[in-house]
């Protein structure tokens, strides 16, 4: 499975709350950021956790968020950032350019 996003692409984290072993922190769901880099491909840990050792291999990204886009009341430098590792199936393209 080839990575569909490239560094710099604007993305939005899906808002879902599926049951099970989830590797996307709750606080970042729904937030918009940009791909910082493609961080390799790994077997989906959300399936590995249930013993599916042939789980599909999925791209992992480091996504960079501006703190003010994650926490609207963030105090501090407006350029402060938060980088989170997120698997591709948690990401959607974002058409907003102001991030």
């Amino acid at each position: 499975m080839n990575a569909i996003f490239n560094p710099g692409d604007p993305v939005q984290v899906r808002k879902g709350s599926p049951p099970g072993h989830i590797r996307t922190p709750f606080y970042i769901r729904g937030c918009r950021g940009r791909i910082e880099r493609i961080a390799g491909k790994y077997r989906n840990p959300e399936e590995l956790a249930f013993g599916r050792f042939d789980a599909p291999i999925v791209p992992l990204y480091r996504v960079r968020f501006r703190q003010q886009d994650v926490w609207p009341d963030y105090l501090g430098n407006l350029e402060d950032t938060l980088d989170v590792e997120i698997f591709e199936f948690w990401l959607e393209p974002s058409n907003l350019n102001n991030i």
Partner: protein, 206 residues
């Protein structure tokens, strides 16, 4: 996995065995009973874990300060660069993030307690606390202040949440007044907390 013998701990400290300690003992005994692991395997793994400490990370940092070429390769491809220290990071990825006059980096794992054990050994208790894990992403500057680290407003704070297969090490800024020090002396200045990003290394005065 606990390195000490749980029964011994119990008799000495009279602390009741917790649910998770029982679970650890049960799983360990099952693995041994089924022949998947031996007691020696476990002893060796615990010994290896205990033998690693932040000194390794400090050596890597001091070398990066002393050798600009090594620093470049460390920032570009840390897993290959640290091999010369005999460090094998296995299937994980390692990323070294550099503190500069304009950027300060801070490492956290909000989901559990992912930590660059191959370079720093076992994580301290505060790193695993839910307070640090939740606040480091929400109000990093306040958390840093509580560690005695004041980051000027114009310096960008970058928080790295280690949620999957990457592990991070902060390359602290080399303190002023260290130009004449040997690599060995430099390494002695590099403490664990500065490589997690909660502290900065103070100016050196002999």
């Amino acid at each position: 996995m606990k390195s000490q013998n749980t029964n011994e701990t119990k008799s000495q400290n009279a602390v009741p065995t917790t649910y998770y300690q029982f679970m650890e003992i049960s799983v360990r005994e099952l693995l041994i009973e089924k022949g998947l692991l031996s007691k020696d395997d476990i002893r060796k793994a615990v010994k290896d874990m205990d033998s690693r400490g932040p000194e390794l990370g400090a050596q890597v940092v001091a070398h990066a300060w002393a050798d600009a070429q090594f620093k470049q390769s460390l920032l570009k491809d840390a897993p290959s660069a640290v091999k010369k220290f005999g460090i094998d990071i296995g299937p994980l990825q390692l990323m070294v993030v550099e503190n500069t006059e304009k950027v300060h980096n801070l490492i956290v794992c909000t989901l559990c307690s992912c930590y660059p054990r191959m370079l720093l050994g076992l994580p301290p208790d505060w790193y695993k606390s839910s307070e640090y894990r939740s606040r480091a992403v929400r109000e990093p500057r306040s958390v840093l202040r509580e560690f005695g680290t004041e980051i000027p407003d114009e310096v960008q704070v970058r928080v790295h949440d280690s949620t999957a297969d990457l592990r991070y090490l902060v390359l602290p800024q080399r303190p002023a007044g260290t130009e004449h020090l040997t690599e060995h002396e430099l390494a002695a200045l590099v403490k664990r907390d500065s490589m997690v990003g909660v502290t900065i290394i103070p100016e050196f005065s002999s």
